[in-house]
């Protein structure tokens, strides 16, 4: 027996040691679990750079690598699959239609919604000749890191792909990868400043962005100003990272105020919306979302696990979300429906947890919806009545943090773009068939049409083809309604120039027709004359909005006010949606709201007309019912009288 143990013991020990070594090497995920203790974990940790070396205050330091620092305890690659970080990947989930990136170039009158998620009306970065590097250059001001930020071409690609721009390869080396900036959301220190990250990104200092934004260090030097062949080994460090030494303890550990649940302030940097009704000095009049005013935070509803697939609040109990298998892959609806409007306020009848069935989650008031016929809940999303700006006769405009680069301070603060004009609220039909409020932009771009398919041209190419015709060199062009006006004559001339361009075509491939898309219309040349027509490519891109949620008293139809929507002038149905275009921008152009809601205008006009008679209907029916009731009561009493008399006679006859 002892001999057997002696033989097996070394084998067991070797096996155990291998398993431990493998786990230690992998080093992933042991900080991702939750032992049930609700106290926050103190993060007094070692910092590591992108080479895996510990950062010490005493030696020339490099910036922090999130992959190597946070990744010591947390599964970086699992997180990288979350909504914020996977849009550039090949297995991207489309999910619900959302806010796109917008490629804007005012000078060439271009605004193109960009997304890799395949949302209808958006174009993929590749469609406008945008690779990961160019994407970063354009959109890194409000970028969470990861994704395109880590998609530098590999060495294999360098060999295989002839099209890889060698200059960009050098730039990647200098700027480094823009890793997921975990601190942007989870660092509760008030020194965390995403505007600094945007500033570093503008200088192509991607490797340094997270470090500077965290407030741990300052950086001197600009990657974009360094030559392609810059090598710090030979040329010396030209981008200097200076850490705040007081933040390091005697063991070179640094305390980071990490929170599991991000603060709303962190979310706001990329997810703010500014109403342009009262901008600037009157910004203080705006209210926040009623949930935040009540003391909640964004992450109370928009929760996630390690996978960072943040719940988006749009999953209704017991329904396949929008008929999309994507969501079901990403979510267990039973888990997340409790955090939707309906799940929180009214309960999820399919939930396993009996408390979740009851509603009132997080103290949410259970709405009574007095006087609201239930058919409204089949036709409208919760947001239709409760979210966004209260509708008026014409849509208003908003600016969003990501599209209009809001929230930048210092040198970048001078940028105050007004274009693209985001119009809101547009009550349009959503993918689940209900009507809800949307933000919307009208795409405009120069493009080509091949076999009926319209594709935009990269703005830089248009600038190259028609610099004079589009007035690119003019320093201060006149603007009307924020646009530099574009005449039909100019359109014709630019289309001719694009038509004359020498395209690299494969054999048998037809020559693409030059087109311009704006204000919902497609412009093309027909026998040398510009003609326009409505076209799918010109359709506005709209995405549903849920915030800010207004207080119940300010919701449409609150306290049974049917006229909020069913009046003949109700903006909810009969409002006008602004058409935004550089062609005749001074003219007021609009489209009826009913077109977006796919509503029969004639019917709703007639329905609104009937509301004039509704008080009469109520009076007539109630009076008739009273009359009926009184007559019935009268005859019932008469019948009772007969019964009593008959009973009395019977008794007296017996006596």
């Amino acid at each position: 027996m002892i001999q057997v143990i002696r033989t097996l013991l070394p084998l067991v020990l070797v096996f155990g040691a291998c398993a431990l070594a493998q786990a230690a090497e992998k080093g992933k995920g042991f900080g991702d679990g939750h032992d049930g203790n609700r106290a926050s974990v103190t993060h007094l940790i070692d910092l590591f750079d992108d080479k895996g070396d510990q950062i010490k205050s005493s030696i020339q330091p490099r910036p922090i690598s999130m992959r190597n620092t946070c990744g010591k305890c947390h599964d970086y690659d699992t997180m990288a699959a979350g909504w914020h970080f996977h849009s550039g990947s090949t297995n991207v989930l489309s999910g619900r239609v959302g806010e796109p990136w917008v490629l804007t170039d005012n000078r060439i009158r271009t605004q193109i919604p960009i997304s890799n998620r395949g949302w209808k009306g958006t174009y993929k970065p590749g469609d406008v000749d945008m690779n990961a590097w160019k994407f970063l250059k354009k959109f890194s001001s409000h970028f969470p890191g990861g994704n395109y930020g880590e998609m530098a071409p590999s060495e294999d690609e360098e060999d295989e792909e002839e099209e890889v721009d060698t200059s960009e390869l050098f730039r990647w080396e200098i700027s480094g990868k823009y890793e997921i900036n975990c601190l942007a959301c989870h660092h509760a220190d008030r020194k965390q400043n995403q505007s600094d990250a945007a500033f570093q990104a503008a200088k192509e200092n991607y490797r340094w962005a997270a470090t500077v934004a965290s407030g741990l260090a300052s950086v001197k030097g600009t990657a974009s100003e360094l030559e392609d062949f810059y090598d710090p080994e030979f040329d010396g460090h030209k981008i200097i990272t200076s850490y705040d030494k007081s933040r390091f303890d005697s063991n070179d550990k640094v305390f980071l105020d990490i929170v599991r649940k991000p603060t709303s302030n962190s979310c706001y940097f990329c997810h703010s919306t500014q109403s342009l009704e009262t901008p600037g000095e009157d910004e203080w009049v705006h209210n926040e979302d009623i949930h935040l005013t009540s003391g909640m935070s964004c992450a109370d509803c928009h929760r996630n696990g390690v996978d960072h697939m943040i719940s988006r609040g749009d999953i209704e109990p017991s329904k396949t979300p929008h008929g999309s298998a994507d969501y079901l892959k990403a979510y267990d609806p039973k888990k997340v429906t409790s955090y939707s409007c309906q799940g929180c306020h009214m309960g999820d009848p399919n939930a396993d947890d009996p408390a979740a069935k009851m509603g009132g989650h997080l103290g949410a008031p259970i709405p009574e919806h007095k006087g609201m016929p239930p058919v409204h809940f089949e036709k409208l999303s919760c947001t239709a009545c409760h979210s966004g700006r209260l509708p008026t006769g014409n849509t208003a405009r908003v600016r969003t943090a990501r599209i209009h680069t809001l929230g930048l301070h210092g040198k970048l603060a001078s940028m105050q773009p007004q274009l693209p004009h985001v119009v809101t609220p547009v009550f349009a039909r959503m993918a689940n068939g209900k009507i809800g409020p949307h933000n919307m932009i009208w795409p405009s771009f120069w493009g080509t049409q091949t076999n009926g398919v319209v594709k935009p041209l990269a703005p830089n190419l248009v600038r190259e083809i028609a610099p004079d015709e589009l007035g690119i060199e003019i320093e201060e062009p006149e603007r009307v309604n924020d646009w530099i006006e574009l005449s039909e004559e100019q359109i014709g001339n630019v289309l001719k120039l694009i038509g004359d361009y020498e395209w690299e075509l494969e054999e048998g491939e037809p020559k693409p027709l030059p087109v311009y898309v704006a204000g919902g219309r497609l412009y093309r040349l027909s026998n040398g004359v510009v003609v326009s027509e409505n076209h799918d490519a010109g359709e506005p891109y709209k995405w549903p909005i849920a915030h800010d949620v207004r207080p119940a008293a300010q919701s449409l139809g609150s306290n049974g006010r049917c006229a909020d929507c069913h009046d003949k002038d109700s903006p909810f149905i009969f409002g006008q949606v602004e058409v935004d275009t550089p062609i005749k921008p001074a003219e007021k152009q609009s489209v009826a709201m009913t077109e977006f809601g796919e509503l029969d205008r004639g019917y709703y006009e007639m329905f609104a007309f009937t509301f004039l008679f509704r008080p009469w209907l109520k009076v007539v029916v109630i009076l008739s019912c009273i009359l009926l009731g009184m007559v019935l009561l009268l005859y019932a009493l008469k019948g009772l009288d007969t019964v009593i008399k008959a009973a009395g006679k019977k008794v007296s006859s017996k006596q």
Binding site: H369, P374, K618, S624, L628
Partner: protein, 201 residues
Amino acid sequence: MFQTVSWVSLGLVLAGIVVHCLVSPRRRLPKGEAAKSICDGDRSLLAKLKCLACPLALGSLIVLFITGFAGRLLFGELMTGYTLMLHVGLAPVFVVCLGFIVITWGHQCLLNDTDRQRLAGLLCLNKPDSGGTPDLGWKLTFWLAMFLAVPASLSMVLSMFPIFGTHGQETLLCLHQYSSLALTLSAMIHVYLVIRRKFSS
């Protein structure tokens, strides 16, 4: 549930009417009891209105039934659009007609001694009367229909006031549906019995 209840009850009532029509022999009424036409001889305005109210109420009930039940029973869909508008538009006409009818016809539909004895017999309060009365049925269905019209109308009018929440609204809709179904069934029987009585005279 409502669909099933509706199909079953409508089927039973229609089948009952057909069976009754085939099985029960029509008895000739005594000369004095012969049913008179609604506006025989009387040319007053009230008589003319009385003339108009019954077919108008019946016509509007038929339209209300078709608009309210057709979509629900055939496709399982709630009323929307123009159908709903027609339904709501005709409802007050129907209710006003009923108000007028109950005033002008109520007296004629009162139960007489024979009806009361027969009713007591049916309710097992009295010895069964083998003779029967041809009037009891249509009189009872008249009063039943009038009674059911009240919850059917009030349930919808009340839902137009900000009094009831979602649950209350659903209950009111339920009440409207079932009371309307019962009203329709009693009206069907009533019309059948009235027609049968007319042809017996």
